[in-house]
C-alpha cells in the first residue's frame, strides 16, 4: 500500500492534531473513588500542574522512543532493533540510578545537598546520556570488524546488545541493594517495566521535551539520506552519501532520544519496537515519512496508556507501570499484525 502525496499530508496533519487532542482530553480525566472520572481541575492549580507535567512527560517519552526506534531499525537494517536491544536503555538506567542513589553521598563532601538538588534536573539527563553512550559504545566496540568478518554484523550486534543490556539490568539490582540511603531505593519490579516517575518537576520535563524536539528536528533535516543508508554499504557508497557520517549521526541521535526518556520513565521497552512497525504498515518504508509521524504515534500510545494507569489506581492497589500496559496490549496486537501475510516486517 503506497499513499499519494496529499494523502500523506492529510494523514500527518490529522495524526499531529489527534495527538494534541488526546493530550488535552487526558488533562480532563482524573482518578476518582471508583475509577477514572472527568474532573475539571483548573480550580486546583497544584493538581493541574502535576497532571499537565505528567501528560507532557508521557508525550515526550512516547515521541522520543518511537523516533529512536525508527532510527535504530534503519541504522541496523533490522526490524528487531530498539533502545533496549542495543543496551542504550539499560546503560541510561544505570547512569540515572547511580547519580540519584550515590550522587548525594559521594558529593556531600564537596558541595552542599541544596546545590545538588538545584542541579539535579540537569545532572540526571546528563548521566543518562553518559550511561547510554557508554553501554552503546561498548556494544559497537565489541561488534567492530574482526578478522576480515563483516563490519557491524547485525546478528552479532543484536546478540551483544542484548547481553550488555542484561548486564546493565543486573548492575542496577546490585547498585540498588547497596544504596547508602535505604529510603531512596527503587521498586525495581516497577522501575524496570517503565513507569512515569513520581515527583517529576516541570523543569526536568521541559529540559527533556525541548532536547527531544531539537534532536528530532536535526534528524529530520538529514532524513532523506537515511533511506540510502538502509541499503548495502557498497551501494550506498556510490549514491552520494557520506555513509560512516550518516550512520554515526543516526546512532548519536537515537541514543540521545532514547536516553532522555529514562530519567522521566525508566527503561520502557516495546514502544520503540512497535511504533516503527505500525508506521510502516500505514506509510511504507520511506524513512522521512516514518520520522515525521513517529512522535505523534509514540506520543498517543504512551499518553493513552499512562492516562489509564494514572486514573485507575483504585483498581490495582496503586499505579500500574505504564510499560506493563503497553506490552500487554501491544504484544498480542503486534503478533496479529505478523500473522497477516501482506506485512513483511520491514
Amino acid at each position: 500500500m503506497y499513499l499519494r502525496k496529499h494523502h500523506i499530508f492529510i494523514l500527518n496533519v490529522m495524526t499531529w492534531l489527534l495527538w494534541l487532542t488526546v493530550m488535552f482530553c487526558a488533562s480532563l480525566i482524573g482518578p476518582g473513588t471508583s475509577g477514572p472520572t472527568i474532573s475539571w481541575s483548573w480550580d486546583n492549580p497544584t493538581i493541574f500542574d502535576l497532571r499537565v507535567t505528567r501528560i507532557i512527560a508521557a508525550g515526550a517519552v512516547g515521541a522520543a522512543l518511537s523516533s529512536a526506534g525508527v532510527l535504530l531499525q534503519a541504522l541496523l537494517r533490522n526490524p528487531l532493533a530498539d533502545a533496549t536491544v542495543l543496551g542504550i536503555a539499560g546503560g541510561a538506567a544505570v547512569g540515572v540510578t547511580g547519580f540519584t542513589l550515590y550522587g548525594p553521598a559521594l558529593l556531600s563532601s564537596t558541595i552542599s545537598l541544596s546545590v545538588f538538588y538545584t542541579w539535579q534536573p540537569w545532572g540526571t539527563p546528563l548521566f543518562a546520556l553518559l550511561g547510554a553512550f557508554a553501554a552503546a559504545g561498548a556494544v559497537f566496540w565489541l561488534t567492530r570488524q574482526q578478522r576480515g568478518g563483516p563490519a557491524m554484523d547485525p546478528l552479532t550486534l543484536l546478540l551483544t546488545g542484548v547481553i550488555v543490556n542484561a548486564c546493565c539490568a543486573a548492575l542496577l539490582v546490585f547498585m540498588n541493594a547497596l544504596a547508602p540511603d535505604a529510603n531512596k531505593r527503587l521498586e525495581l519490579s516497577i522501575y524496570m517495566m517503565g513507569h512515569l516517575q513520581d515527583g517529576l518537576t516541570t523543569q526536568s520535563v521541559l529540559i527533556a521535551t525541548i532536547a527531544t524536539g531539537l534532536v528530532w528536528l536535526t534528524m529530520l533535516r538529514f532524513a532523506g539520506a537515511f533511506n540510502i543508508a538502509t541499503l548495502r554499504s557498497s551501494e550506498a557508497t556510490t549514491l552520494g552519501i557520506n555513509l560512516p557520517g550518516i550512520r554515526l549521526l543516526m546512532f548519536i541521535g537515537a541514543t540521545i532520544l532514547a536516553a532522555l526518556t529514562v530519567p522521566l520513565a525508566g527503561p520502557i521497552a516495546f514502544v520503540g519496537l512497535i511504533c516503527p512497525h505500525l508506521l510502516r504498515l500505514l506509510l511504507g518504508s520511506d524513512q522521512r515519512q516514518l520520522l515525521l509521524l513517529a512522535p505523534p504515534m509514540g506520543g498517543i500510545l504512551v499518553v493513552v496508556a499512562d492516562s489509564f494507569v494514572r486514573t485507575t489506581g483504585v483498581w490495582f492497589n496503586g499505579d500500574l507501570p505504564v510499560g506493563a500496559l503497553t506490552a500487554l496490549l501491544g504484544g498480542p496486537f503486534f503478533l496479529l499484525l505478523l500473522r497477516r501475510g501482506e506485512y513483511r516486517h520491514g
Binding site: 534503519a74 539520506a225 557498497s234 551501494e235 556510490t238 549514491l239 552520494g240 552519501i241 555513509l243 522521512r288
Partner: protein, 261 residues
C-alpha cells in the same frame, strides 16, 4: 592541450583481508567508450577489485583516480555523480517500491541548499527516472515492492538505478546472472549503447560469450593479478582461456542477435 585524463585509472593496487593478499600490482585504465570485461576463476579478486574501484574498500597500496583526481578526495556528492554501481543482487531491509529505489539515483544530483537533503525530486529528475524505467521495461512494475520481484527483475531495477544516476563511469558485478537470454541481450545492448555515447564501464562476469559479443577489452585475472589485458579477438582464444581457467574451450560459434523476435 594534453590528452584528457582517463575516466578511471587504478595504479598499482594492492589489497588483502587480514594479511592474506587478495590483489597485488593491479594497473588498469578505462577510457570513455570502453566496455572492459573482467574475467577470471572464482576467488581471483574480481569483486574485490570492483569494490576498490567504487570506493567501498580502501586499497592498502596504490590509488584509484577518477577523471584525474584521487577517488578518496572526492566528496560523497561528486563520487555519486561520477560512479554508479550495479551489484549482482541486493538485500533491501525494508519494502521499498521499485520507483523509490530508482529515485535514490538522483540523490547525488540534488540541489545544494540547506533543505535539499530532504530529497525532494526535481522535475528533470522525474523525467530521468521515468525514462530509465521505460528503457528497462519496468514502468509497469514501478509501484511493486522490490522484494516481490523475481531475481531477474530485481537485477533490472539495479540496472535502472545506475542508468538514472547518469554518471560517466559504471561498474557492474555480474549484472545479468539471473536474467533470461532476452533480458540479458537487452541489458547488454543498452550498456553498449551507453558506452558508445561516451561512458566507461567495467563489467565483472563469468560468461565468455558476453565478453566476446559486447566487450571492447578483456581482462583476465588470476590469483589477484591481471595476467592479460587485450581486445576480445586476442584474449578469447584457446591458449589464454586455458591458462586462466585450466579448461579447454570449444568454440561453437553461437552468438546472440540483437533483434528481438
Amino acid at each position: 592541450m594534453a590528452d584528457p585524463a582517463p575516466l578511471l585509472c587504478a595504479r598499482d593496487i594492492g589489497f588483502g583481508y587480514d594479511r592474506q593478499p587478495v590483489l597485488a600490482g593491479i594497473n588498469l585504465t578505462v577510457n570513455a567508450g570502453e566496455l572492459v570485461c573482467i574475467l577470471g576463476p572464482n576467488g581471483c579478486g574480481k569483486t574485490t577489485l570492483l569494490k576498490i574501484l567504487l570506493g567501498a574498500l580502501q586499497p592498502q597500496q596504490g590509488e584509484v583516480m577518477v577523471q584525474g583526481r584521487p577517488l578518496t578526495q572526492l566528496s560523497a556528492r561528486v563520487r555519486g555523480q561520477t560512479l554508479s554501481y550495479v551489484p549482482q543482487d541486493t538485500d533491501v531491509a525494508f519494502t521499498y517500491p521499485v520507483h523509490a529505489l530508482v529515485a535514490m539515483a538522483r540523490w547525488p544530483w540534488r540541489p545544494d541548499t540547506w533543505w535539499s537533503d530532504w530529497g525532494m525530486l526535481q522535475t528533470q529528475d522525474e523525467a530521468i527516472i521515468t525514462e530509465a524505467l521505460q528503457q528497462t521495461h519496468l514502468d509497469t512494475l514501478a509501484r511493486r515492492s522490490f522484494q516481490t520481484l523475481s531475481g531477474g527483475e530485481q537485477q533490472r531495477v539495479l540496472w535502472a538505478r545506475a542508468v538514472a544516476q547518469t554518471t560517466p563511469v559504471m561498474l557492474l558485478d555480474e549484472p545479468v546472472s539471473n536474467m533470461d537470454p532476452k533480458q540479458q541481450v537487452h541489458l547488454l545492448d543498452g550498456l553498449q549503447h551507453w558506452v558508445r555515447a561516451g561512458g566507461a564501464a567495467c563489467l565483472v562476469c563469468h560468461d565468455l560469450n558476453i565478453a566476446a559479443n559486447w566487450g571492447t577489452r578483456v581482462i583476465f585475472m588470476q590469483a589477484g593479478r591481471i595476467i592479460l589485458d587485450a581486445p576480445p579477438a586476442v584474449a578469447l582464444c584457446e591458449a589464454p582461456i586455458a591458462a586462466t581457467y585450466g579448461v579447454k574451450p570449444t568454440f561453437s560459434g553461437i552468438t546472440f542477435t540483437t533483434e528481438e523476435s
